[in-house]
Point group: C2
Amino acid sequence: MSGKEKSTESIPKVPSHINRKLATSFQKSRLSPDIVPFLFEEIRKGSIVALSQGITLVESKKEQDNILAQELIQKCLPYSGNSVRIGITGVPGVGKSTFIETLGTYWMTQHKKLAVLAVDPSSSMTKGSIMGDKTRMEKLAASDQVFIRPSAAGTSLGGVTQMTRETIILCEAAGYERIIVETVGVGQSETAVYHMTDIFLLLKLAGAGDELQGIKRGIIELADAILINKDDGDNQLATKKAKNHFSKALHLLSVKENDWQPKVLSCSALHNKGIAEANLMIAQYVQFTKQNKSFDRRRKQQDINWLHKTIENRLLSQFYQNKQLQSEIASLEKLVVNKKLSPFQAAETLLKKFT
Amino acid sequence: MSGKEKSTESIPKVPSHINRKLATSFQKSRLSPDIVPFLFEEIRKGSIVALSQGITLVESKKEQDNILAQELIQKCLPYSGNSVRIGITGVPGVGKSTFIETLGTYWMTQHKKLAVLAVDPSSSMTKGSIMGDKTRMEKLAASDQVFIRPSAAGTSLGGVTQMTRETIILCEAAGYERIIVETVGVGQSETAVYHMTDIFLLLKLAGAGDELQGIKRGIIELADAILINKDDGDNQLATKKAKNHFSKALHLLSVKENDWQPKVLSCSALHNKGIAEANLMIAQYVQFTKQNKSFDRRRKQQDINWLHKTIENRLLSQFYQNKQLQSEIASLEKLVVNKKLSPFQAAETLLKKFT
């Protein structure tokens, strides 16, 4: 509830062991307009340092940085789109990091470049595990085929969502072919991730009781596949039952708009069991939806949604940055609190002055 | 995902057995500006028909009705605020309706007037039980001390939230002293209800597994009290354990801003057990927060939030109702989809024309 935000979000230092020269030239030219073509070229060459710095511009709270970020995105846009964007959700403890580590390692053997991003508006407030934490994905973190970026802290869901969409564009321009966006069920973060990915996976545990209740309504409907994790040891019988249960439940739901029949798989990320099958299912999904054109349709719809979200954000930020309105807002707030004026009438008064 | 909305939301017929004369005069004068003072006077006299019709104006999708609604709210505003607003959440099956029925029946013996409202943005889409369903609260529905209003269908969370806030004002002007706002955990509906009520109650079941995981992060932090329902029969041992568990968990959380130490109670709504205790706890909470002034502070903060949400809604609706922009939006959508323009730049183009 404490909407506190970190006020000192500056460009982080570049790790000294990589590309010191590039880093130095970036630090120097940071505020020059030349930085954009420079970063763009380096990102296109696959530089992880340039990509990181581009994302830092995207995540910056400085207006000046954001202008540069938008120029960079505009440049990257024509080179974006050539990836499979995979959304992954599941409650804490379900094994998301291990699953991503195992699936990512599998992709490494196929020489696919992978980026792992996180949408976690709560990471600044709760003491839960940080999503996209590199220490929890050791093998991936050590690979130069893999780019891992934790969620930006101290921002609202809307902010994180916006940043993540932009980050996806930069990653794709840098040549990443698989983009995983992971989230936990905070507020509407699952819906946000669903709206920026091509396929949406729900990780579950068997026997944890949430097949009986407590599943957030609507999440099952979003899932293109349910993966029941920790299918190992004593858990295998319960997993089999849960798989059965979910298969039946999914068949009761009406068919998805893209005609894909959601799948239920089981796996044990820890024991590398069922991972090849998960990969195969993702590949089949992509083939199926590309063939019936729904892959493209979903992306186009997402782009349009993104435009409207941007309009919303920009409109509100222009309103609240309007200096003439600021004192007016304060005095109208008082009238509302004292029940002299309804919020509707106060809002109308302000909007008349704004437009 | 299907954003379908019912397009034919008209003023519903007034039940024939109550106040036929008033109903007739309302139907006739509906579009006349005289309707507002008329409804206002009747609402102040406690007329349930006038209250229902006022809420129908609030929920109407017609601009003309909304203007009348806002005039009515402005008139009611000085007479609002004299109630205890109680938010209740819990997963489907936890027994919310039964709990409200039992607690409400208890209040009837104390001659308290009770209104039951619902915030359920999903009610138009899912086939789950309708919230605020009168058939599930038979005793309350039969009492003329009690006003029950199910959630308006076919609207976004933002819309339902806005309507419910306005409905609370009308109910208070009509003399209701207890306002229950119930919700299930859809999207951010719990947060929305928390922000419009004085006390927020979380109903739980023991042994359903969700004390281990699956609890939506953040909901526990919002709760002023957790009530473990169905404390009866074989369930009593599990309830005792769960009560213990939650008490410990709540003590680990930092103290709430209002200094209230959240309580854990158990009850069996079905067997009228623990209901007097729940009522006592609510009374103690109100006394405690009124004494330390946090009751008033929270209400003021909520009014300010309400103003800002209204600004947001009105700003967006003015933007999208701007006829000159509509064709522009369509052509910019195409440019975005074809990756010629980033959403940011498209949004900037539109905003320049708007302001």
